[in-house]
Amino acid sequence: MGKRIREEKQALSVNQSEVNSAEQRLVEAAQNGDKKAFGRLIRRHQKMLFRFVYGLLGSFDATEDIVQEAFVKAYGALGSFRTDSAFYPWLSTIARNSAYNHISREERKESLDRLQEKGYDPQATELGPLERLLDDEAQVRFMKAVKALPARYRSVFVLRHFEQMDYGRIADYLKIPPGTVDSRLYRARRMLVESLKDLL
């Protein structure tokens, strides 16, 4: 019952104040023009941001562009960032805004009729350059299975599992009713369970 997510959240909260304090110092230094401090913020968060954006978009090239754009925008807007709040949620919101139009376009293009014609086929899915970064076959299969999900299901799955958002936040984020979050997440999970059953 979401036990693992809750455990992870608890474990994260233990060292949260220490992490926040260190991060706050880096953000303050970056606000004062210390580029190396901002470089450290990039290195701290880029992987998580990449995974999040890639999960939403399913395109390596588009993800690279949006992650870069998000950091550039964040750097430009650092002056308006309040250091008493967490940096990553602010950064991911910037990335989300950049990715949002992309997602909308993708979802519009992908009608359910077309999905039925195409079918859900993770094995036929190409990961592109991302595949080189992955450790083992299980990870490749998992990422292919996620990428092959219809965009409307994938975005809900990624927000829930990669960003640990609750249904209410996902609904706000994607501007859909909470009931739709529930049904899309259920379908995403069913598809993934079916595709990855030998790994579960």
């Binding site: 019952m1 979401g2 036990k3 693992r4 997510i5 809750r6 992870e8 260190a22 110092r25 880096l26 230094a29 210390d34 580029k35 190396k36 401090a37 901002f38 470089g39 450290r40 990039i42 290195r43 701290r44 880029q46 992987k47 990449f50 995974r51 690279e64 992650v67 870069q68 950091f71 550039v72 750097y75 430009g76 080189r132 970064l133 992955l134 450790d135 299980a138 990870q139 998992f142 990422m143 829930r160 599992h161 990669f162 609750d166 249904y167 529930d182 049904s183 997440l185 259920y186 999970r189 993934l192 369970v193 990855l196 059953k197 790994l199 579960l200």
Partner: protein, 350 residues
């Protein structure tokens, strides 16, 4: 209720997102439905799979990616500066055009009203007094060939001060024209305007800072990116200038910074001699940043070189030069850098 009613809610049940009543209903159903239990187990398995395989591994790609983003930031900044310069250039041009137009108007006016202007110049010109602390009252000598009009202009500038000749030697900021050998002090020409008294004690500290000899030049050693330090180390390093700022001495700040970097790097090279916490930091730095012995040595040369240039502690100096000499005599590609540094240190503490 229909089995599909419960099955379709399993996902929300798993996430704890159902109202309490529905959570209880599903729980009861799970006790009697094997199919739903199996599906719930698979959802839990999927959750584990995300934890095990959802994270992207460490790879050189991320460092490349970070550098790409940093390069983009630099390009954006350069473009922003260029834009500003272009705007400034155009704005400057507009001002120049306006100034040229104004000059033409003034010259035209002078040409037309030349007689009136010459008459006005023969009237008394108000004098301008410059108060300069610590410098004897001086009056520029007026050369014989200076025209009456120029004389009036020079008489308008009077310099007064209550200082001594000794004070004058400390002066590094005040205009050198005041010390020119052609200047004399005819008593009848020295003006006695009201001056605000500034004692030497009030301004000498400033002069000390200004007149301080410059520190030895920093050696031309390529800087290594500060990648070998963890975020924690970096933040601790950021505090050093603040702590050393009380000394009002940039060299002290620099020296503290290089000592800090040296100690962090030495900690990386000698993990066995360190307490557990420091060993962890060292191990994390090595693993996370894929640093090499060469990078650490290169950075150590840089640190020791700066320390040897800045320190007043002879033991610390010799510790640094010992390291540099040892590296210089080696056959690695870094020996040249150590030699360059040793050359710059020639003569210190001898």
């Amino acid at each position: 209720m229909d089995h599909s009613y419960y099955r379709d809610r399993l996902s929300a049940y798993f996430d704890g997102e159902l109202p309490a009543g529905e959570q209880r209903e599903i729980k009861l159903h799970l006790g009697e439905c094997r199919e739903c239990r199996e599906l719930l187990d698979k959802m839990a398995g999927l959750d584990r799979l995300v934890s095990e395989h959802g994270d992207l591994p460490d790879d050189g790609y991320w460092e490349q990616s970070a550098r790409r983003i940093e390069a983009q930031l630099d390009r954006d900044q350069d473009e922003s500066v260029t834009d500003t310069r272009e705007r400034t250039t155009w704005q400057g041009l507009r001002w120049k055009l306006a100034a040229a137009a104004a000059s033409i108007a003034v010259l035209t006016f002078i040409a037309v009203h030349r007689g009136d202007i010459l008459w006005n110049e023969s009237q008394e010109t108000p004098s301008i007094t410059i108060h300069s602390p610590g410098i004897p009252a001086l009056k520029p000598e007026i050369p014989a060939d200076v025209s009456p009009r120029e004389t009036k202009k020079q008489e308008g500038v009077q310099v007064s001060s209550g200082g001594t000749q000794a004070d004058e030697q400390h002066d590094v900021e005040l205009s050198p024209r005041l010390h020119a050998p052609t200047v004399s002090e005819p008593a009848d020409l020295v003006a006695q305007p009201e001056t605000v008294a500034i004692t030497p004690a009030e301004w000498v500290p400033d002069l000390k800072l200004t007149a301080k000899p410059k520190a030895a030049a920093t050696p031309d050693i390529p800087a290594v990116e500060n990648e070998l330090l963890t975020d924690h180390d970096y933040i601790a390093g950021m505090d050093l200038p603040e702590k050393a700022a009380t000394a009002h001495d940039r060299d002290t700040v620099e020296l503290a910074r290089w000592r800090y970097i040296r100690d962090s790097l030495v900690a990386l090279t000698e993990p066995r001699q360190l307490p557990k916490a420091a060993r962890t930091v060292a191990a994390e730095s090595r693993e996370g940043l894929d640093s090499t012995e060469v990078n650490i040595t290169m950075r150590l040369i840089e640190a020791y070189c700066h320390i040897a240039l800045l320190t007043d502690d002879e033991n610390e100096y010799h510790q640094a030069t010992d390291f540099l000499q040892e590296t210089a005599t080696g056959r690695t590609s870094l020996s040249e850098q150590a030699k360059v540094c040793l050359k710059q240190l020639e003569g210190r503490f001898e």
